[in-house]
């Protein structure tokens, strides 16, 4: 299994995601440069956190036009697994690979705190039965306030697309939404950072199980192996 971590100018959690998958989960992992037009042999594409292109305009608004995102869209279209974390989630929403948008936190301030998250029954692997009812993951963002129109929210609920909800909402997100997937179930996005919750000294190591649950939607054997 090959993991690819995108690198945009301004990505700054690319190394965190790399180490989560390479060392935390022990999977072959490599970087993919934003100017690349092909992804190569890859089973999961990580869109990592950071401030791609500075995010001065609107987070993800420029990154979505980068050459590599065309390749990611085509890959997702064919059912490839895509996992956006923080800025990656923002970019996937801007690129239209995930529904909704992320705006400034209701406090108008950046927030770096630990969050208790309720796990929703979204897929066979991303569910309370696999992950337990709650997980603990940190957040670090200024624009994590998830928004979607009423019909869109109804669709998310009906299709069980919501992955995680904040137990104590840190950013004003609609319906406490912290992470979602697309309808097809191959594109995942979340504001919390599994890539900051996997080392033995981290306050939580739930990032391992959460990331495994994402991978297992396509590779269920992974879950069986580590269970």
């Amino acid at each position: 299994m090959n993991i690819g971590v995108l690198q945009f100018p301004g990505s700054n959690c690319d190394q965190d995601a790399f180490h989560l998958f390479a060392n935390g989960l022990g999977l072959p992992t490599r970087y993919i440069w934003h100017k690349d037009t092909t992804l190569g042999d890859v089973d999961l594409v990580i869109v990592p956190g950071g401030f791609a292109y500075g995010d001065y305009l609107r987070c993800g608004a420029i990154a979505r036009f980068s050459p590599v995102m065309k390749a990611v869209a085509a890959y997702a279209d064919k059912g490839g697994l895509v996992y956006g974390i923080c800025n990656g989630f923002q970019i996937l929403c801007e690129a239209g690979l995930l529904p909704g948008a992320l705006i400034r936190n209701s406090s108008l301030e950046y927030r770096c705190v630990m969050c208790d998250l309720t796990v929703e029954a979204s897929t066979p692997s991303f569910s309370p039965s696999v992950l337990g009812p709650t997980v603990k993951l940190p957040i670090g963002h200024g624009e994590g306030n998830y928004r979607i129109d009423e019909a869109g929210l109804a669709r998310l609920e009906a299709n069980k697309q919501i992955l995680l909800r904040y137990q104590s909402n840190p950013n004003g997100s609609l319906s406490d939404i912290a992470g979602i997937r697309n309808e097809k179930g191959n594109v995942f996005g979340m504001m919390p950072h599994p890539d900051r919750a996997f080392e033995r000294f981290h306050q939580s190591r739930d990032g391992l199980a959460v990331s495994r649950a994402v991978l297992a939607t396509k590779f269920p054997e992974l879950l069986a192996k580590t269970a």
Partner: protein
């Protein structure tokens, strides 16, 4: 016969005669102007006058502090362990570097951005972070963490709230975007900083010994490249601006505050580190910080014993029609000067192209030892490089002990006539202290800083020191870092206050399980032309130097910020100290929070009978007087080594340094664990007939409270006894929600969740904005 004058500048405005008024406006003294003429052997052009004025400012030349700084221990012959670790010493380069073993090293330095932050808090603080980060990666190091040390007036003032909010969000904006965790810091609120906040930012980076780069121009004919952002008119003369007292008119200086672009800096970091990894490509590199293009060209030339010639037409410019004065003095951010091995120009150009950045070939290294600047081919400045750096003027200022010290130093709690506190006073005293912004939780601050990015933060902000795991090749190392300085102590006793800043910072590290390695300092003082201010500076430097010598901790770099005054007077002298420590084994990492009910609390260190300079005295009695708390270097050293021995023996559950607020505040803070809130039952009857206010709220140094498992009490007491440290059992951690105190004559009881709420939300409540979620 004098040298012939330079040709006319292409911009007629720069050909105006240099009048005494113009010289004065540049902050250049008449005798300094004479010296300039001597170096040039002719009248300077206006561009040259501007160049001298910024290079000879305090910010660049340390002209009033240099003789004092020589007292700092930066190297020792027959080097002891810590001094033997110094790879690049203070003053040699943009930042000092120390060895951390196995071929790895850390570069770190602290720097101020006080005046820009007073005028424009967001951009001022943001560019302060940008500047110090450049100082670190210039050395070839990958920046891995930030800390900061902030001082403001009383938080009740709306102006202070605006500055505080702006500074914190500015630091957050820049540091978060770069992807650097801010892992430690300190914030004090005191009237003396009203109108002149202090913003000191630190960056630490890691590198292999063979990656160290120097800011040196060598090799005649080697090309000089300008990389990064284009030059604009922002920050014009910032270094000179930073060397003037703040006045009402300072707000008209707004163009002297630079605007930061952290995205550009992030690209610059990556491109420069990639470039420096190529063997033999980079000859020298220096960031364009204070005094921009001027400083980087003359300093690299001077260090290399060479000359540099540049053509301004090749400098990327953000605006049209900029003249040589503007280009040379601009402090536009995110720019670097790189001297490249001749013939390898294409390699650097390719790397910067990859990162979509400019790399402009602006000049070359010469053997003239002169800095020659041309525009449209016309020479606009031609200056001996060393005259701007090594030959900059140095002054020994007059020093006079401030008159107030005669009164304050005589004050003691015994002679004051103040009645001792009683049970009710103890109860409200702790409540008030915990809610005071200086002591209260700084959660409002650090939750705005990304402190987890790079996934290496082991101890997050909120404990005595930040701890970070460094991933170095295929091995790991753990380092701790803390900042300290109580300006109130330094005001009351500059020498002792500085000693305390140093020993307390080390005590914080030891509480985290670290051995102190090296120190960087930021000397924040008032106008040195006032003899009382110079006295404070002199005494504080002496205090830091003595403490560093005693503890064998080298000073590896720092920054001096003078003229910190507002119309109301000078700030409290504030020699901010930051020490980096090394943690041998991950198992030694210790936090300030108790871990389990049933643990015993033990005070290591004595209980002297004093209240001078304490927060209690200020908050409860409205007094800023007395002598700074007692500190004894020998006792302190014994205390710190004893604690480290105990931590390494694995018998310490938690350790917390006693500082502002004293004993009860420290104990309360230990109960506020991020996991849960604990209770405690304290029996202080063992202490003799001291005053309760001094016992419970005094700030005597050399004290630490530890929490240990009940069966370890014997080990602790006997180890303390052997080392000659007093140790007193204070009580027990409980599962209850109360903190219960029983001393001989006073008793009090608090709800710990209520204390915690007051402590945790004190700053948030003040800073909340109506209509917005917290």
């Amino acid at each position: 016969m004098p040298a012939s004058p330079l040709p006319a500048n292409p911009d007629p405005i720069l050909n105006q005669p240099i009048t005494p008024a113009l010289v004065k406006k540049h902050g250049v003294l008449p005798e300094e102007f004479e010296a300039i003429k001597g170096f040039l052997d002719r009248e300077p052009t206006l561009t040259e006058l501007g160049i001298y004025s910024v290079m000879w400012s305090e910010h660049c030349a340390y002209k009033n502090s240099r003789p004092l700084l020589k007292g700092f221990p930066t190297e020792k012959k027959g080097a002891s362990e810590n001094f033997g670790r110094v790879l690049v010493k203070a003053g040699e380069e943009n930042a000092g570097i120390i060895d951390i073993g196995d071929g790895w090293a850390v570069a770190f330095k602290i720097e101020s951005h006080n005046h820009p932050s007073a005028i424009e808090p967001f951009e001022g603080a943001a560019t302060g972070v940008g500047g110090i980060v450049r100082d670190i990666f210039t050395m070839g190091a990958r920046p891995v963490l930030l800390t900061n040390s902030l001082r403001f007036g009383e938080l009740t003032s709306p102006t202070v709230q605006r500055l505080f909010r702006g500074v914190v969000s500015g630091i957050a904006h820049y540091g978060n975007c770069l992807g650097l965790p801010t892992v430690a810091g300190d914030v004090y609120f005191d009237r003396s900083y009203e109108g002149n906040p202090l913003v000191n930012a630190l960056c630490l980076g890691v590198l292999r010994h063979d990656q160290i780069k120097r800011g040196k121009a060598t090799g005649v004919g080697n090309p000089v490249f300008y990389v990064g952002a284009a030059t604009g008119r922002d920050g014009l003369g910032g270094a000179a601006f930073a060397s003037k007292e703040l006045s009402e008119e300072s707000h008209a200086d707004r163009p002297a505050v630079q605007k930061g672009d952290p995205f550009m800096e992030k690209l610059l970091i990556e491109a420069c580190l990639e470039m420096m990894e190529v063997p033999g490509l980079v000859v020298g590199i220096q960031d364009m910080g204070a005094a921009g293009l001027t400083c980087s060209t003359c300093e690299t030339a001077s260090r290399g014993g060479a000359g540099i010639e540049i053509e301004l037409d090749k400098v990327p410019q953000r605006e049209t029609g900029m003249n040589s004065y503007e280009i040379m003095l601009s402090e536009s951010q995110e720019r670097m000067l790189v001297i490249v091995q001749k013939g390898r120009e294409k390699e650097i150009e390719e790397i910067f192209q990859k990162w979509d950045l400019h790399a402009a070939h602006v000049g070359f290294v010469t053997d003239t030892e002169r800095m020659v600047v041309k525009q449209h081919g016309i020479t606009v400045a031609d200056i001996p490089a060393a005259s701007l750096t090594d030959a900059a003027p140095v002054y020994k200022r007059e020093s006079r002990e401030p008159a107030y010290l005669a009164t304050t130093s005589k004050w003691t709690i015994q002679s004051s006539g103040l009645a001792d506190t009683d049970s009710a006073g103890v109860k409200s005293g702790l409540e008030k202290l915990l809610a005071h912004p200086t002591i209260a939780s700084k959660r409002w601050v650090y939750r705005q800083y990304d402190h987890m990015v790079r996934h290496g933060t082991v101890v997050v902000p909120g404990s005595d020191a930040g701890v970070v795991r460094l991933r170095l090749g295929d091995q790991e190392k753990f380092i701790a870092i803390a900042n300290d300085c109580n300006g109130r102590y330094c005001y009351l006793n500059p020498y002792r206050g500085a000693v305390i800043a140093m020993v307390e910072c080390m005590r914080n590290l030891v509480c985290a399980g670290a051995t102190p390695l090296a120190m960087t300092d930021n000397l924040n003082f008032g106008n040195p032309y006032k003899p009382e201010n110079f006295f404070q500076l002199k005494e504080c430097v002496r205090g830091l130097a003595d403490a560093c010598n005693f503890f064998d901790v080298p000073v590896v770099g720092g920054n001096v910020s003078l003229y910190n005054e507002s119309p109301e007077g000078a700030i409290d002298p504030t020699p901010t100290v930051s020490v980096v420590g090394f943690i041998e084994n991950e198992k030694h990492v210790t936090k300030q929070f108790v871990r389990n009910a049933g643990e015993k609390l033990i005070l290591l260190g004595g209980a002297p009978n004093e209240l001078g300079g304490s927060q209690y005295l200020g908050l409860i009695h409205g007094l800023k007087t007395g002598d700074a708390p007692e500190v004894d270097l020998a006792t302190e050293k014994k205390l710190q080594s004893t604690l480290l021995t105990l931590i390494k023996a694995g018998v310490i559950s938690a350790a917390h340094d006693l500082s502002e607020g004293g004993l009860l505040v420290a104990i309360a803070e230990m109960l506020f664990s991020p996991e849960r809130t604990f209770g405690a039952k304290l029996d202080l009857t063992a202490f003799g007939a001291t005053r309760f206010d001094a016992l419970l709220f005094g700030e005597s140094q050399g004290r630490i409270v530890v929490s240990v498992k009940a069966d370890k009490i014997g080990t602790i007491l006997s180890e303390a006894h052997t080392s000659g440290i007093s140790a007193t059992l204070l009580g027990e951690v409980t599962d209850a929600t109360d903190l219960i105190l029983n001393a001989r004559g006073v008793a009090a009881q608090w709800s710990v969740p209520a204390l915690r709420e007051a402590w945790e939300t004190s700053i948030e409540r003040v800073m909340a904005r109506p209509g917005l979620a917290s």
